[in-house]
Amino acid sequence: MPVIKDAVCSLCGSLCDDITVTVENNKITKIENACILGHSKFVGMLEHDRIETPMIRKNGELIPVSYEEAIEAAAKILVNSKRTLSYGWCSTSCEAVSGAIQLAEETGSVIDSTANVCHGPTALAAQEKGSPSATLGEIKNRADVIIFWGCNPVHAHPRHMVRYSSFSKGLFTEKGRKGRKMIVIDVRRTDTAKLSDKYVEIEQGSDLLLVTALRSIVNGHEDVIPETVAGVPKAEVIELAETLMNAKFVCIFFGMGVTQSRSKYKNGDAMSSLISDLNQHTKAVMIGMRGHYNVTGFGQVATWETGFPMAIDFARGYPYYNPGETGANDILVREEPDAAIIAAADPGAHFPQKAVRHLAKIPVIQIDPYPNPTTEIADVVIPAAVVGIEAEGTAYRMDAISLRMKKLIDSKFKTDEEIVKDLTAKVRELKRGA
């Protein structure tokens, strides 16, 4: 019975690449090293329902059809659309993303990733100030002060702390957790906070005030700090700043507490500046805790193929980018799209209801292995193989390191890459015919 070592887990942005998978009769029977999230995904191959067949909605019901019929129906929707939203492409391979971008280019669509509801503001922040970062191994080997700011790896990235951060050991960090100071900054005492040496509870939405105060102290302007900042007493803010300045190597890991709260990307923007300022005193970097296992990959591929990481509008035949105008939620809330193609993501579950209501009104093509809320409002449903389990391909870890995902078992389903290729071919055929 084949045992596959060093498999890459295709669940979260940690992209652990040390998973051991046992396969018997084309079924995964044993998983080693994976966390609860990864485990549920691999095992899910056995237990979860799949979309068993391509389907087209007729009279309100999804009716099974062949792949060919579904692809043709989908291509017709795209060819007749004046403004298609292509969304998702994050729980899939870079190769599929590349195909999706070409399809969007040919159909003059807007294409966006799940970063729209996740770390999109992190990209906008980098476009203001840059992205002072490092690979995760730098943290493992060097960091003596680690901050988790507005993120909760115990829940969202369960092996992160062991493999890369708080508990990991490296050349200059032989003592592991004992030699490190772990600080959590959040609006509620999370399970991650419970493991920290220092928990700083801030008023929800006031991250920018605290980052700015830290900068002012680091830059020698302690005098401008009021008695409390973001609900934190001045003395505590000063102590925090001193901890950072006196460290040998600081890493701030940040999550959606930073990207989604009140001042959005300006939080990450200021945090970049804080990192730059800290480097006058010590070594400091920051890393966004990316959610979908390949949302980073979407950003990478889109950037080299179009110049932009997300929210790309191909209406004029060349890429145009402006989150706030061309993001998936921007155009859905304004009811612009007259069709949508959604793959490897679930806006039905993860978009605010006003956006979902518009999706429910327009023709929606869904490509996904599993049924989900988006299926409920989809008009053409195309089942796909699970990338990283039933299909190989490239994915990018949260620190922009790419890895090759293995194919572990065979599947009767087409891969995202094949589906998007077929769809593009069909679109070309229909356009030339017309």
């Binding site: 002012s216 300006k266 500046s273």
Partner: protein
Amino acid sequence: MQIVKLSLKEANKIPIEADNINPDNFAGKTEEDIKTIPVWYGNGQYPLGDFFNVKVEGSDSVENVKLVFEGDVARVKRIGQNMSAGEIEINGNVDMHCGFGMKGGKIIINGDADSWLGCEMTGGEIILNGNASYYVGSGYRGEACGMRGGKITVNGNARDYLGEHMCGGEILVKGNVGLLPAISNNGGKIIIEGNATMPANEMKNGMVIIKGEVSDLLPSYKEEGTEEIEGTVYRKLVGDVNVGGKGVLLIR
């Protein structure tokens, strides 16, 4: 004088991109000429006449051209983009990027404006007699400079990031503004008669006066006495200290 009256034949959801709709491009043109000017609608280009009723009175050079939009153009983007002279009057709401990169002339909006009003403008004047959305007078993504000259008056309220990266010119808001007005400013003047939250973050240069309430003042300004303007005494704050800024923020 040349007056061009435009009205939408029917309301649209997919935006029309009107970067060709400005006095520079209409001056001296007949009704028929103007109707054939191509505009983007979704992923296709169509003649302007497909969407708009067009009436032209007279023919003149650009300084003497006035465009009048009758009714709502809430989904027509980039009206007046790069205009150098003449006048545009919009009697209704207008979509994003109105007056983007404007160099001269005047735009009057009798309605609300969506985001990026007067973005990167270098001259001319915009008067908005309604509310503005995000990024009034700011810059395109990644640019270091937004508005460099001219004047924007918002007679209603404005939302977040007013005057982001502003390097010159003047913005006057009669109502309230949202988060982070004047963020990363490097020049110019902003007067806010109503309330504001977290103003002037990372201001390097320029002047910001807030006559209403300020919430969440950022901890990066030094207080340097007071200053009196038109009989009102303001607290004078100088900063942002984190960028070695020499900007002046006056608040009550």
